[in-house]
Symmetry: C2
Subunit: 78 residues, 2 copies
């Protein structure tokens, strides 16, 4: 089974990478994008022994930094 | 409207960050995760003038590296 973990900077955290993209787009001729935030996207292949509690620990402990990031964990068909 | 762009290394491209996580988990006591791939997750706020063709150009040109990465673009309720 595939598990997707998306990790994003918390809203109150500056995101210079996202701001750089958002600032560059108008100069490149692309208008109408008002904000860009950049985070991380993890795809894990897990076997059936891995329960939701374990996935939560993995995400919080090793994929995200809880001080500055928020994250979502979801199982997807794959 | 929010648009999510997920960017992942192509399957044939090595992913040392993902491999590092996958290799570390068993040593940390977490078993059953057989593979980890790490990519990028972008959240864009766009107004109604931004069509799908424009989003495709932005993703291909500025969010992903088409030589080594693949990506998906989707509009989400926000």
């Amino acid at each position: 089974m595939r598990v997707v973990v998306d990790v994003m900077p918390k809203p109150e955290i500056l995101d210079p990478q996202g701001q750089a993209v958002a600032g560059a787009l108008p100069r490149l001729g692309f208008h109408g994008v008002t904000a860009v935030r950049q985070g991380k996207h993890f795809e894990l292949e897990v076997d059936d022994t891995v329960d939701d509690e374990t996935l939560a620990k993995i995400a919080e402990g090793f994929l995200a930094n809880p001080v500055i990031e928020q994250w979502t964990v979801r199982r997807v068909d794959a």
